[in-house]
Amino acid sequence: MESHLDAIHEKIFDWLETADWSDLTPAEQNEVLCVMTADQYVLQRRVITEASSLFADEQPALVLPQSTTKMALQQRSIPLYQAILAVAATVLVFLFIWPSESANQTAVLPTNVQQIDSVFIRDTIIKYVTTTQEIERVVYDTLKIIAERVVSPPTTRMFDGKPSFEPIDITLENQKKKGNSLQDDNSIQLLPSIVNSIY
């Protein structure tokens, strides 16, 4: 903590700020002379009064820093015609660039289908669909062959031509016993004529 001035020093301090040596009353001058000489008072007074003019010629114009503040950009306004011109220029540039961009795309697509990124995935899919169709055709052909095999008559048969004998009617109806008589027996005809001659 710095010490404060005592009463006499505080008085002299006030006089130094406000009055020249010649403006002081003799009583005041006597009080000053208790602390310092008249020359010292005059020099101290001069130090105070000259201070304000010492740097008077060294005040250049300063410019407010604008680009460094984020606010400067947000607050800036431009004339309406500039805004309209900017929008029109953007549209023109967009229209000028857009068709050439699409043309470039079509030129590049066929040669780089496999190598490039996801932009060309659509083309890869198209190729895949084509492959699937081929497979289907193969399957269809196979099926056709199978169908032909099924539909066409067999070339070789186990029993070809007419049977060498009349098949015996072995249905239950014919096997029904009509009686014990030999005449009722159908199988008699298979027997030698000797049997027939008996009857």
Binding site: H4, L16, V47, S52, F55, L62, L64, M71
Partner: protein
Amino acid sequence: MLCSDEELMVEIIVHHSHPALALLHERYSGKLYGYFLKMMNDREKASDFVQDIFLKIMEKKHLFDPERKFQAWIFTIASNMCKTAFRSPQFVALSSEEIDQKSHGHLSENLHEKERFKILYKRSLNQLEMHHKTTFILRYMENFSLNDIAEITEVSVGTVKSRLFYATQKMTKLLHEYDPRQEINLFKIN
């Protein structure tokens, strides 16, 4: 409409108003440049400090108390910047000879008496301790009231008076040491 500094500051805090900042810059850039120049004895540094202080205002605007005087607040920041610069190892205080060179070249015998006094004055001002120099410049060069200086330097008014008295006394002593003719010439000038 003429707004007070404090109103402009509120405008900056609430609406981030760039025109308000520009107006404050217009009002204070010269004063601050002068203050920094006197404190640092370096035009470039003074100019940089002015730029920096307005950026600081934008960064620290929320710390401003609308009840307080803006001028006292901004000079408190300025004083603290100088204090920090003096403490910095990068800061090299100019020697008396360098000050002479920068301002008016060598101190020749033939130099006009008033010019000579100016050079010696700057040299002795540069020899003051930091707190004395700050108080002296604020009072006698920037014309602040004792109460404002007390607020800026965060000491009592009594301490401000004491600092001023001893700073002036030391300056006088240094001036006399540099050129004993000063006292003799005083009566011629005045």
